[in-house]
Symmetry: C2
Subunit: 365 residues, 2 copies
């Protein structure tokens, strides 16, 4: 059986190793596993959300209200936009997929920072579109502009991951708005705000407002319930843009693309903004422990606007070896070797988890 030519060269996304795998492979008791590899919320989710899900699972036999009426209304209120400016995805990943299928084809290209969210590239490869990335790992608008200008006719989607996963840096909003205005009206600039709640809490200059993005003809904002809202396992994200863009990409949304409990969870999650504040406060308080550790141990780190921190090692250390040794002790971190970096990304956990990780790390470096 033959398949479309691009299929044979497709990479497979390397997800953070699940707890179940560590239990199976190394015989470690579940309660002793520390997983800080997938930027999940260590505080869980809001108790209001838990209640909503508990009620909702009784209707697991019923498809969700596919209009997502109430969720869209909640998000519209939260961001001061209209329901018609919103599309719901199974994670913001799926909104990326819609965008790629709506804008790209084998004669076009996407552009991103050198090291950024791996799914951009993977979805582009699904389609057989060309991929341009800057030489710099972190976002450099100068380099992005240079590449854009050199391949203007081809590039139909530009990704800005703000703040950037898996590195943690974040561009200033004023620079971003200026950048978008310099890009052709037929090229879509995607502002991936999966971790935006963290960035704007740390520094208001990073704040990208979806209510500003909807005024533009060539930009879309992506948000998710997976990170600050603590619902990684529920797969709900969204795109916010002007109505023309939303109408087009919504046509690629299959019905019932999120589950019934996911819909209930997301609606409840928007209502509990106190939980978000608690999450953000814990995150940056705990992050300072990692920063101090890095300074004390001469480890380079990227100042982070997210819920993770990236340690970059010099040649005397090997991120793969370190991750493997920790894995055998039940500590799951994300090795960034597959991104071409001798670095480890660590999700900020609870105080107890963070202390355990740093004690183990201390012994291996």
């Amino acid at each position: 059986m033959n398949f479309n030519p691009q299929i044979s060269n497709l990479p497979i996304y390397e997800a953070g190793k699940p707890i179940e795998l560590v239990i199976r492979e190394f015989g470690i008791e579940p309660q002793n596993v520390v997983k800080l590899a997938s930027n999940e919320n260590p505080l869980g989710c809001s108790p209001l959300v838990l209640e909503a899900m508990k009620e909702s699972i009784k209707s697991a036999n019923l498809y969700p209200d596919d209009s997502y009426y109430e969720l869209k209304e909640s998000l519209a209120n939260l961001y001061n936009v209209n329901s018609k400016n919103i599309v719901i995805g199974s994670g913001s990943d799926q909104v990326i997929e819609f965008i790629m299928h709506a804008k790209l084809n084998p004669n076009t290209a996407m552009l991103s920072a050198g090291v950024t969210f791996a799914m951009y590239e993977i979805y582009a490869k699904h389609i057989g579109a060309k991929i341009y990335k800057t030489k710099s790992s972190q976002h450099s608008l100068d380099e992005i502009k240079e590449l854009y200008n050199a391949h203007k006719k081809e590039i139909k989607v530009v990704f800005l991951c703000l703040p950037n996963n898996p590195l943690g840096e974040c561009l200033d909003a004023s620079d971003v708005y200026e950048f978008i205005s310099s890009i052709d009206s037929d090229t879509l600039v995607v502002i991936d705000g999966a971790y935006m709640e963290f960035a704007k809490f740390k520094d208001s200059r990073k704040t990208i407002n979806p209510s500003d993005i909807i005024k533009l003809s060539n930009s879309i904002y992506l948000g998710t319930f997976s990170k600050a809202y603590g619902l990684g396992g529920m797969r709900v994200g969204y795109g916010i843009a002007n109505e023309q863009i939303i109408t087009a990409i919504s046509k690629l949304r299959a019905p019932f693309n999120i589950t019934t409990p996911s819909l209930a969870a997301a609606i409840a999650a928007v209502k509990d903004q106190d939980f978000i504040v608690k999450t953000l406060q814990n995150n940056f308080k705990e992050m300072s422990i990692y920063e101090q550790f890095a300074k004390d141990n001469d480890i380079e780190f990227i100042p982070s606007y997210t819920n993770f921190i990236t340690f970059i090692f010099d040649n005397s250390k090997d991120s793969t070896q370190i991750c493997d040794k920790l894995l055998r002790q039940g500590i799951i971190l994300r090795n960034l070797r597959s991104y071409g970096l001798n670095a480890i990304r660590i999700t900020i956990g609870t105080n107890e988890q963070n202390i355990k990780v740093l004690e183990a790390l201390k012994k291996e470096i």
Copy 2:
């Protein structure tokens, strides 16, 4: 902003109207709404599944084990195949999407019965592939073969919906196997078994065994947890085929394509086969009430191998008018006018629901 040319002509799938919409639009109390429009299980789901979900929502912040190890092992045992023969989708819909993107492009075509599951056509249109359908609404293997032979070079995917949604008929397995053997080795025959549990319970001659399908180089079996298992709202389906096919289409699966509670629900659901038997017994016992009603009222119906029954009206009646009138009373059925038929598809409900629907229908016909 321009989009890929096929986007502008894309239809949007018309889902069954959700209960929430009827409550909003007609001010009907939730407990008075009867929704028999989306072939959801009227008995809910297994109590074991409910327990598993209740436990699992506590981990809503954690992504699922993306290897789906335990679920694949359960399905492999159930169907006497290997884990490597299985791909998991967010509903079997998503497996259809993988297949289309792996096999089709604008120079190829798909083939199906005249009236069948609408998503086949919608996904083909996403890609800009050509669509061939038989003149007959119901599956006619003679007509399918004839169309296939006439457009052999183009047709790369053939759908057999067994039993067929939204009509209910089902081909015999022996005819299906013979048909597959007559199809080129580079054309994938998709056996959509979303309602297969119902068909094989009613008549064992309809049974397609995934363990037979994996021996073939050009066929894939699709199953779902949405129907007999009562998990429509959880979005879990699967494809079973030989390893070469599964390896190829799995490359199009994004990580974490089902939710954490969905994974727990599906694993538990496989364990409670007694619930399936209860579902199937209730279904066909209640279906006989609809058959008797149709006979008593001179309404044509298609003998059904599924959890729904399709009433076909003569010109003296109008399915759209009937559905609209019932909708205003809080009864949601599926009008098949958008499929070009003067017909209504009714999901078999609980005894109480069925009596209410037939009493209301009696007044409107």
